[in-house]
Symmetry: C2
Subunit: 88 residues, 2 copies
């Protein structure tokens, strides 16, 4: 069965405050890294999935992102999917 | 001054265990999403930075990633940088 490599990026919705990101931005200034006008911290989930075809892999990962990886009330997610060269 | 859009992906090194990722993989199975052979959770940091040119922006963000965003003992990071269309 083909193997697919995926990445799900989970980010806070623009309307949601990100205190951790703000703290990192302040810390960057103290470190001497200036000019940062925006800094928001999200999650990056790297997956490999076995599925019959790319459509099925995408469907499963969309379900997973909606139900498990992201909280749709406060987070958006994007899915990047590509066939994996390594077989399993 | 030009504005650059950047993303820093921070992931655990392959040799480091990821209990949160394992828990998510088990939860995916219970949710009925089968076929996931790998799942690792990292951070995605979205930034905007003002700098004189792309080289300077890259240097500052590399310093930031090494010193603040990632723990180089257990984490790797990759930087994606591109000019930002919106001016500030």
């Amino acid at each position: 069965m083909p193997n697919y490599q995926a990445r799900v990026l989970v980010n806070l919705r623009p309307s949601v405050l990100d205190p951790a990101g703000e703290a990192a931005r302040s810390a960057a200034n103290r470190l001497g890294v200036t000019g940062i006008t925006k800094l928001r911290i999200g999650k990056s989930v790297e997956l490999q999935i076995e599925a019959a075809d790319e459509i099925e892999a995408r469907q499963r990962l969309e379900l997973l992102s909606d139900r498990l990886l992201a909280n749709p009330v406060i987070e958006d997610w994007t899915l990047e999917l590509e066939p994996c060269s390594s077989t399993s």
